[in-house]
Symmetry: C2
Subunit: 579 residues, 2 copies
């Protein structure tokens, strides 16, 4: 048995001199510049002793080890909880690199980190169970779990667990829109196993097409790869596949070069529709140069064994194209276990599990939901308008003057974030400006009707957050911070005034901060949409992408692994062995 | 599309200055010394243009891409053949590192190299088909092949191929000795997939044992890992598993530490019985210190879902032990397709496919077999004694004098390698010394009876070669060299005299040169038996092991990959994510 690994010794050095770990500098070769970024992942405490008196502690059960769950666990520091994790995966996967994994630019094992390793050095006990929660019972505060293993290990094992606080972070499943054949014949790209399957499938296609008995027409079919969904994942996958085929496979399978075809199908008018028009244009043009066929305005109506059927959005014409592989990447849907749970908490007719702005599931005080499995339902300001008005109108005069607002305006803006978005959108300086418009000519007083009128359009700015890793990670961190300061904020609440009740909310509501989004386009070209509508495209953006992803990886281990993987790929190309 | 990768540029530099690639120096840190070794893998020609007039060329079909097949392909340089490879695996796997792959000391992908990449730069066309040969038809000179892919790619595809020369290098399968339950419940360690399965299975056991509902007894069972077979593979696997469990898993699953048990079962009297007694003793003692239970003289009679049954060799007592995983590593057996083929070439009652000393299948002039799928049946000298005597006795006098031998003695020693082994064993200087003993007191003449007497014990030195990578690789290289000089040696044969025929054999017979064998024992301890009965044990041997394996890897890519894997493992430990 060894004492400490080399890595642990390094870690201790970082721990003794924390500033060391705060700054990683990656020199961005393309631009000759430097990109510096801060890293906070090492701020966990290294002291590891078992906590006592666990019986008094609240039992927190975390479901899921994806972005939301892991971010919550990483940031949870209070030792006043007894923490249990239940997840069918005993690791966290850095999903933004999944498209790279499909083609071997990065190895699967480099983007995962065992969850036990992530929580190993907590000052409090964290228990992990590799199992799937198949039923949440909010009435009895219990979850029902199932763990499947090989028959010789005992097959299926079921157990229940009770909880005091439940954190649901189970993610979502792929959305097939009930298109026939998708589940049977298409590949998805949500899990590590998916990426590995896709990789083997691509090589299968190449090997199949190399057999002597395969006709030309059949070769054409097999070598036709179709990607459904023009979002960032679909686009990145198509670009990665193109690079793999052109840079690596073409040399090993020269006779198949001319049979290769990649098609990207998108139901909307253009690909990457959540990005700036400049990025969409650049991507479309690059794909056109690369020979990737982009079919926009085209709905997939059926996937069968050997072909994919589409319907043109305008003409309504249907057509079928033979193909060898279909990747389905059209967004997410609610998992069955969450749908069941929604029925129990009177959310049966919603599409997605709803939480309030504090990530609490509507209708359950002890259950929090975050990440892709839930959505925050923003409170509409018009719904509360009377309550807000009466709260501001302290002397019950029925009219407010500007001074009356002073006390509540901050709370309004915090409780209803759509207000600030609206102000920004309309280029108004502050809330008073908004009221002025409704008052007309600088009246000093305002009644409830004027107040309603002023705020009538504000709610139009309410938007659901996208189902991204970035949102999930921020929610996890937010919730952990709430948990860390639960007792303290119980005593002195720091949230906004409760307009419909008394006192203040315990915490400030969750607020998402968008740091931008990347769309790698292949050939060392990446597009990025950064905050403030700043758009960056090209090879230097690719280096920014490398830097940011390296910095965001969950541990030093995965960081080094991914960086050496990039180096290996750069030096030797990608491997095409079918393993 | 990029022009050349960085790697290719480096390669070109090596090609222009070949001496650069001939020497790789790895500093052996533990001993402070230097180990230098030569590398010949880059000597292939870089020029790549399609050969013309292929119709006149002989069609060589190679079955298999293991050690023998790949070594043959790497060393084949003559462009007078039209080469086709058929193998179910589109890559070559460096199997000696498989035990390391099972626990993540080295990644699966680091020890494989696509076969298309290996043959890509040949001056002649090499065609690869990913398929399994399921029938060899030596009468019609055809092979029947089958390739299985996913249903959407077309399912099973069958085809036949004709050949002029067939090189059978399909390897062997695991030998279960028809023990009931082995195929169903035990794991093997022959392919990359096997290693990946074992890795997942180990983590499965740990996760299963961590579930809250598992009883103590069941935990004990699940955490009991049994390795059957005390050969180098079994011993190395047991050692690797122990290291993985103690160095890495114990930190992540602290509560299971005391449940872990590893048992090594060997039917013989001691483990590593092909090694020197000092090594066996060292290994047994080290395993005893490590807590690995070594059960010698114990035959496995049955493997069932949850236990393994053994029978003591001496007492005949049977007992059953509950266990979570069984690894079966007890040597190799002939594949069904080879068994079928043997029936067709009148070898039906043999256990293993027999070839002559030139690796030609007995009974088929156009079929060569090498590696684990065949064995060289050495010609017995006594069988040919009359022919040898008459060949030497030029004047038909019925007696030979020492001068008569002069011409043939070299040929005898070359044709019957057992002679030299016998001389060495008996500490005789040369063949004449051997005859002297039979003649008694220095007679000048010798008759056939004396000759027979002198050679009567020589054949006892005939031994089958072990089923190792080393033998297979040397056979592949030997056969390629024969193929390279086929025409030239047809004209001027370089082999020994044909005692039973006229003229000379075209080639010298295959001669195996043993470079020693390693037995890694875990904890950075390795034992090595080197030529000349030199035994080396300890940490410096581990570094020798690192150096030799790094040098033997098939390409620069795999070399760098494996070395960085070792570095990663040394720095961060092994990963325990279940992927």
């Amino acid at each position: 048995m060894r004492g400490f690994t080399f890595y642990e010794r390094i870690l201790r050095a970082f721990h003794d001199h924390p500033t060391l770990s705060k700054l990683v500098v990656l020199s961005s070769v393309s631009g000759g510049g430097l990109i510096a970024f801060a890293d906070n992942s090492q701020s966990q405490n290294l002291i590891s002793d078992s906590a006592e008196g666990e019986s008094k502690k609240k039992k927190v059960v975390v479901l899921g080890t994806g972005w939301a769950g892991t971010s919550f666990l990483k940031n949870l520091k209070s030792s006043s909880y007894d923490v249990h994790i239940v997840s069918p995966r005993n690791y966290f996967a850095f999903t933004p690199l999944l498209p790279s994994v499909t083609n071997g630019t990065v190895e699967a094992r480099s983007v995962v980190e065992p969850i036990r390793n992530i929580v190993r050095k907590k000052t409090f006990k964290v228990d992990f169970k590799e199992a799937e929660c198949y039923k949440i019972d909010p009435v009895n505060k219990k979850i029902h779990c199932r763990s499947g293993h090989a028959k010789n290990l005992g097959g299926i094992e079921e157990f229940t667990m009770d909880y005091d606080l439940l954190v649901v972070a189970m993610g979502a499943c792929s959305n097939t829109f009930n298109t026939p054949g998708v589940l049977e014949y298409a590949y998805f790209l949500k899990e590590i196993e998916d990426a590995q399957k896709i990789r083997r499938s691509i090589i299968d296609c190449y090997e199949r097409a190399s057999l002597p008995t395969i006709s030309d027409e059949e070769k054409k079919r097999i070598m036709h790869f179709v990607v459904v969904g023009g979002g960032p994942t679909g686009v990145e996958y198509a670009a990665e596949l193109h690079d793999f085929a052109v840079e690596d496979l073409a040399r090993l399978y020269p006779s198949l070069k001319d049979y290769l075809k990649i098609t990207l199908i998108e139901a909307g008018d253009h690909i990457l529709n959540m990005f700036d028009a400049r990025i969409t244009k650049f991507a479309t043009e690059k794909f056109s140069r690369d020979g990737i066929d982009v079919k926009t305005g085209s709905m997939v109506i059926k996937v069968s064994e050997k072909e994919i059927s589409t319907k043109d959005g305008k003409t309504g014409q249907t057509s079928s194209i033979p193909c060898g592989m279909v990747l389905w990447s059209t967004g997410v849907a609610t998992r069955p276990v969450i749908r069941e749970f929604m029925k129990q908490v009177a959310q049966g007719n919603r599409r997605v599990l709803a939480t309030d702005e504090w990530l609490r599931v509507e209708g359950c005080d002890d259950i929090y939901a975050l990440g892709d499995c839930a959505t925050i339902v923003q409170r509409s300001i018009l719904e509360d308008i009377a309550a807000i008005f009466s709260k501001a109108d302290k002397n019950n005069s029925g009219v407010l003057d500007v001074h009356d607002f002073k006390e509540v305006v901050e709370h309004i803006c915090e409780r209803y974030p759509q207000v600030n978005i609206y102000l920004k959108r309309k280029k108004l300086k502050n809330f008073n400006d908004l009221l002025k418009g409704a008052q007309g000519n600088d009246k000093k007083k305002i009644d409830i009707e004027m107040f309603k009128k002023a705020l009538s359009e504000v709610d139009s700015q309410m938007k659901n957050l996208p189902a991204t890793a970035q949102v999930a990670a921020q929610q996890g961190e937010y919730l952990a911070n709430c948990f860390n300061r639960m007792e303290q904020c119980e005593e002195s609440p720091e949230g906004p005034i409760r307009f419909r009740g008394t006192g203040r909310h315990r915490f400030r509501p969750f607020r998402y901060k968008h740091f931008g989004q990347f769309a790698p386009l292949g050939g060392e070209q990446t597009a990025a949409q950064l905050p403030g509508d700043w758009v960056s495209i090209g090879q230097s953006t690719q280096w920014l992408w490398y830097s940011v992803y390296a910095s965001k990886l969950v541990s030093w281990r995965t960081r080094i692994l991914v960086i050496t993987d990039w180096f290996r790929r750069f030096t030797f190309g990608r491997d095409s062995s079918k393993i």
